[in-house]
Amino acid sequence: MGMVVSFWILAAVGIIAALGVVLLRNVFRAALSLILCFLIVAGLYVTLSADFLAAVQILVYVGAISVLIILAIMMTREVAQGSPNSRFQIPAFIVAILFLEVLVLTLINTPWPVSSMPPTAPTTAALANSLFGEGGYLLSVEIAAVLLLSAILGAVVLAREK
């Protein structure tokens, strides 16, 4: 019961925040609205018993990506003027409607398997065991580190370009 109530509150606030991202003229306010949207997604993860995912959502999206976006806005000229009208408003609307239709059709027509097992209560320890424990995905973790390394190198090389 409490889960259902909290889900609907989160869903309503999330949709309002997402609409704010699209409709607000001031880019900075749109970014703040996006951060609220990220937080709401973390809350939705909590209602799905994915506590580690919620923590990662807050750590990476609310903590780091929002900093990146706000820094990019700080470097933007004429923020106070707001975003100008775009010529692509109507085509973008049509494409968005088509994309929504694809999403909804997939959502309805896919048979979603539901596990009968109860969800693992704290997921973090179980995740740690399968990542670093015996017979875990240790090699994949190290490869992910190499991927991160290449991301850092790529960012430095691309952003240093004059």
């Binding site: 409490g2 889960m3 909290s6 909590v46 018993s49 506590d51 580690f52 923590a55 990662v56 750590l59 990476v60 903590g63 780091a64 990506i65 900093v67 990146l68 820094l71 990019a72 700080m74 470097m75 933007t76 000229r77 923020v79 106070a80 209560a121 704290p122 973090t124 320890a125 995740l127 740690a128 065991n129 990542l131 670093f132 424990g133 240790l138 973790v141 190290e142 992910a144 580190a145 190499v146 991160l148 390394l149 991301a151 850092i152 190198l153 960012a155 430095v156 952003a159 240093r160």
Partner: protein, 123 residues
């Protein structure tokens, strides 16, 4: 387990209510005629901290800030791996410690590269 999140939710509700309350207090007091309302240009000007701005307040920041943000983002993703390991450190033992050392060493190569390329320098 989920009751803990209930407490977080309660805190959030308290935060929102407190913030709204703080905004509503002066408005309510003005409606009750307790606070007088006599604005003048000096009262409405920005005061307290800092000097009055000359030109526009929204200045463009140095592009160099962006490198810090990019590298911060990459190291933040590294924390995603360190966090479950740190939670289950006792059960995982020494082998996982070595694995994490390798993990951090790989990421440090990128950090040292950024350092050597003088990206982190302030000019």
């Amino acid at each position: 387990m989920l009751t803990n999140y209930g407490y977080i939710g309660l805190f959030l509700i308290a935060v929102v209510l407190f913030t709204l309350f703080m905004v509503i207090i002066p408005i309510a007091l003005r409606f009750l005629k307790i606070v007088p309302h006599n604005p003048n240009p000096i009262k409405n000007s920005t005061f307290e901290c800092g000097m009055e701005t000359i030109g526009r307040t929204w200045v463009q920041f140095n592009f160099h800030y962006y490198f810090y943000a990019l590298i911060f983002l990459a190291l933040d993703v590294l924390v995603v791996f360190l966090y479950p390991w740190a939670v289950n450190l006792r059960a995982l033992g020494f082998a996982s410690f070595v694995a994490v050392i390798i993990l951090v060493a790989i990421i440090l190569v990128g950090y040292v590269y950024a350092w050597k390329k003088k990206v982190l320098e302030w000019k």
